[in-house]
């Protein structure tokens, strides 16, 4: 076991992890943050997306030990029922959520884009969301929701 320190959703943690343990396992099993989903487990689907030091990564491909010293945002750190993030609001309004399995990852990719770029073009939105797959909605609504959230963010 090795000791790592990291900040998750603004809270500092010190954890003992196995060297081969992935970040998604540490988030789900050690911190009980079950919002991060494991879809393919191979870096293809983006369901496990979290923001690590300001960049989206697939937490199924990062070892927990690699995240030592990092600042992580998982879906639990983005908003909640009472005060949803504007991306989450837009997803609900537009109907961009069906089974919801892809949604946490989608929301994190969209949030990270808007944090960096308050006025993304359609092309920039398309690129930012291209690592997140959805089996249900057919993407139109998802892209529209991100567009709406972006509009709302501009004053």
């Amino acid at each position: 076991m090795i000791e790592i320190k990291l900040v998750v959703n603004d809270k500092p943690y010190t954890l003992e992890v196995e060297p081969s343990e992935r970040l998604i396992d540490a988030l789900r099993n050690r911190l009980g943050l079950l919002g991060t989903k494991e879809g393919c487990g191979e870096g293809e689907c983006g369901a496990c997306t979290v923001i690590m030091d300001g960049k989206t990564v697939n937490s199924c491909l990062v070892l927990a030990a690699q995240a030592n010293g990092s600042v992580i945002t998982s879906i639990e750190g983005v908003g909640n029922r009472r005060s949803p993030h504007r991306v989450q609001k837009a997803f609900v309004e537009v109907g961009a959520v069906q089974c919801g399995f892809c949604t946490p990852g989608m929301v994190l990719s969209a949030k990270n884009l808007l944090d960096k770029n308050s006025k993304p073009s359609n092309e920039e939105i398309g690129i930012a969301m291209s690592g997140n797959l959805c089996r249900c909605t057919g993407y139109d609504k998802i892209l529209r929701a991100v567009k709406i959230a972006a509009e709302e963010g501009k004053e």
Binding site: P19, S20, L61
Partner: protein, 280 residues
């Protein structure tokens, strides 16, 4: 399994020398290989905390790229876009945003899949690889390194790459995603030295045609010293098909790739040859 997280290159190669451990860069290949059992390292040396390995900078007429520079960092680098356009292009189309944020150029070479996207551009651009171990340091042309088996000694760290700033123009194109069947993948990188309307020198590299990416010297020779025009492009298409034919022989993918390569080759040149002439 042991896990090391050194803060300097010296420390990393010392650990590698003493422990038979495996270097870990972004982990986009290695973490998967550990899960499938394809890789069973006795220890990992995580290079992620060695900040000098992430640098991308201009030094004495070269672009120096640390092995831990990610595809996203390279794809956002003005220096790379200006002087190594083929590499910059490869960085835009590689993987997904999440993969590009994590995957490194050093790991791309370390894993050395036949379809590694970073390698054809580096070959076409005449890159050298900076290797370092307890035994010493060396700069090896990538084309030479790719003919070695095994690619690297177990204790050898890829310190980085250097690409000469030459003013050559370059381009890259690929067919097929990573998960596409091997038969449906192909990539081409081209770098040309243009003088007025003449193509003085050419380097063409191919990926996913055979075991590792390679530079075609004969193609470079055939296409050098000619006028840059439609006839030159058509000659290039015929020659590159010939190279694929020779490289793949009777393999099942040969007929498909022989045909597909002409389109990929034309696309790789699209940023260099525009309709009606050349682009600055």
């Amino acid at each position: 399994m042991k896990y090391f997280q050194p803060y300097s290159v010296e420390e990393a190669i010392e650990i590698a020398h003493a422990s038979e451990s495996t270097f870990l860069a972004g982990g986009t290949d290695l973490v998967l290989h550990m899960r499938t059992g394809k890789a069973q390292p006795s220890g990992l040396i995580d290079l992620g905390k060695i900040s000098v390995l992430r640098e991308i900078k201009e030094v004495d007429g070269f672009i120096e790229i640390g092995s831990m520079a990610t595809f996203a960092e390279l794809g956002n680098s003005e220096l790379v876009a200006q002087n190594a356009y083929a590499l910059w292009q490869a960085c835009q189309s590689m993987g997904s945003p999440q993969i590009r944020n994590q995957a490194t150029l050093g790991g791309n070479l370390g894993n050395c899949s036949p379809a590694a996207d970073g390698l054809p551009p580096l070959l076409a651009l005449g890159a050298e690889v900076h290797l370092i171990s307890q035994e010493g340091e060396e700069f090896v042309p990538l084309s030479t390194l790719l003919s070695r088996t095994p690619l690297l000694g177990q204790n050898t760290l890829i310190r980085g790459f250097r690409i000469p700033i030459t003013g050559w123009q370059s381009g890259f194109s690929k067919l097929g995603r990573r998960r596409a069947l091997a038969i449906a993948r192909l990539s081409v990188a081209v770098a040309v030295e243009i003088n007025g309307t003449r193509v003085e020198n050419v380097r063409v590299a191919l990926g996913a045609v055979g075991r590792r990416a390679f530079l075609s010297e004969s193609l470079g020779r055939e296409l050098s010293g000619l006028e840059l025009n439609g006839a030159w492009l058509e000659k290039g298409v015929l020659e590159v098909q010939q190279i694929v034919r020779e490289a793949l022989g009777a393999r099942a993918s040969a007929p498909y790739k022989r045909t597909a390569v002409s389109g990929v080759f034309r696309e790789a040149l699209a940023s260099i040859i525009t309709e009606g002439g050349t682009q600055a």
